[in-house]
């Protein structure tokens, strides 16, 4: 695998890096340290700029109006767009757009007309409803929300937790058990309108992620037409699993971007900060932290780009995506922790972004499948079907 950037990739990465430093970072100076949204005027102005750069809607397939950019380049861009205070969970505050619920590209034409196209035009918002109080890493067994067929409808009862954006969404993808006897083949994905009777956003779930909160959902005799089944009845597990695998690459890239930014801040700070008559950079304890940061970042970057290369070539990338997610989230946590140690008391203030990254990076080792599940995926691949 050649990690050298092509001329075109270098140009795109430089443009995005300049955009983050000249457009995003100055705006953050006046925002709340935990903000995840820009003022509407700034948001519209910057969306116009990303459109002019030809980089709006990066994850949208060309057939649906997205730019023709390969997955490796998109991963490199994701590393850049995370390099600011809100970058881990709100990279560039969303001004590069996105595909939203990519599962809808496989929807029926009627479903696309009603949900996908309005979502791509920014007219509708959706949420992804998989995790339940009984767990999120093992959807085949953990999903207890039930959907029962009743004529042309399905009636859903149950609940979800840790669901982002449901309180502001127009619709969502809800995974429910349609056949309790069939394990993973008994899970179906439904497109649910949030104004349907029986749909409830019960509460906000407060977490370390102070800005972009999660919600808990409740479904009480929520009646959904059969036409709103996404894919096949019993095909929900494959939809969920595919999403989880794909999501791991940009998830890893965001951690690498934040780690790079924290590392750069430390590299600039330690030669200036003096203790006991000498700059911090002259202390071996500090030098080793910087070395460990550099190695962590390069390891994570290599594995993440390898996963992106394999996915781009159409090869199986589940193991590689799991490795990338595992290493990038754990390395990113270590890098931010070391940088806080180098900055001392200032590192834990809201004057610097490090404290926010420290909180949010902790979630990354759990979200989208915790480290232990990634190790399980890798071990299962190494040992074959004998490991169950």
């Amino acid at each position: 695998m050649d990690l050298a950037l092509s001329e075109e990739q270098t140009l795109v990465v430089d443009n995005v890096r300049r955009f983050v430093r000249e457009e995003i970072e100055p705006l953050e100076a006046s925002l709340d340290p935990d903000a995840d949204e820009l003022p509407a005027d700034d948001y519209r102005r910057l969306v116009d700029k990303t459109r002019a750069m030809g980089l709006y809607g990066l994850d949208i397939p060309v057939a649906y109006g997205g730019p023709d950019i390969d997955l490796v380049t998109r991963t490199l861009i994701a590393i850049e767009t995370a390099q600011h205070r809100a970058g881990l969970y709100a990279p560039c505050y969303g001004v590069f757009g996105g595909a939203g619920l990519a599962q809808l590209f496989e929807a029926t034409e009627a479903q696309k007309e009603r949900y996908l196209f309005p979502m791509l035009r920014g007219e509708k918002k959706g949420f992804f409803g998989l995790t339940e109080p009984s767990g999120g890493s093992d959807p085949a067994r953990a999903i207890q929300t039930r959907a029962v067929r009743d004529g042309d409808d399905w009636v859903i009862n149950g609940g979800k937790i840790f669901i982002s954006g449901a309180d502001r969404a127009d619709f969502g993808l809800v995974f429910a058990r349609t056949d309790p006897e069939r394990g993973r083949a008994g899970v179906t994905c439904f497109i649910v309108d949030t104004d349907m009777p029986g749909f409830h956003v019960r509460r906000v779930v407060h977490t370390l992620r102070a800005a972009r909160y999660a919600t808990e959902l409740g479904f009480e005799d929520l009646r959904v037409p059969h036409a709103n089944v996404l894919g096949e009845v019993g095909g929900g597990f494959a939809i969920a699993n595919d999403r989880l695998s794909r999501q791991r690459i940009p998830y890893a890239a965001g951690c690498i971007g934040v780690a790079i930014k924290a590392h750069e801040m430390a590299l600039a700070y330690v030669p200036q900060r003096e203790t006991f008559g000498a700059p911090l950079s002259s202390r071996q304890a500090i030098q080793w932290m910087l070395v460990d940061n550099e190695i962590d970042i390069r390891n994570a970057r290599w594995l993440t780009l390898e996963a992106a290369h394999r996915a781009e070539r159409g090869e199986d990338f589940r193991k590689e995506a799991a490795m990338a997610k595992l290493v990038a989230t754990e390395a990113g946590s270590r890098v931010v922790d070391r940088c806080i140690q180098m900055f001392g008391g200032y590192g834990v203030t809201k004057d610097l972004p490090l404290e926010r990254w420290y909180r949010e990076m902790r979630i990354r080792r759990i979200g989208e499948g915790p480290s232990e599940v990634q190790r399980h995926i890798i071990a299962r691949d190494l040992l074959g079907a004998s490991l169950r």
């Binding site: 340290p33 502001r168 409830h200 956003v201 019960r202 102070a210 800005a211």
Partner: protein, 105 residues
């Protein structure tokens, strides 16, 4: 809607801590007029924000606070809960773009 906390008189606001958090202002009848938050850039945290808001909002004579580092999400939650219970936001809160909706049940 800040649960389990009684109202304090406006005169006590100067003794509030400088922590981050959320607060509600009410009139003499206990009707909530405003829900606000003291964030990471607030000078003197809740003390500064509550004193400023009491001077700015007509009829506000009481307050209650909750210290929390999750001030942004808690602020939005309080606004949504008020909206769900009363059909709209408190009188002195302007429109909040993109505010979600809760149906606590």
């Amino acid at each position: 809607m800040i649960d389990g906390r009684g109202w304090s008189d406006a005169a006590d606001a100067a003794a509030l801590p400088g922590h981050m958090g959320v607060y509600e202002l009410a009139d003499a009848a206990g009707r909530v007029l405003y829900i606000g938050c003291a964030g990471g850039r607030s000078r003197f945290g809740l003390r500064g924000e509550v004193c400023d808001a009491l001077g700015r909002i007509d009829g506000a004579s009481r307050f209650r606070v909750e210290v929390t580092t999750a001030y942004l999400t808690r602020h939005r939650e309080l606004l949504m809960r008020h909206q769900a219970a009363h059909g709209g936001l408190p009188a002195a809160n302007g429109p909040v773009p993109g505010l979600g909706r809760l149906s606590p049940g």
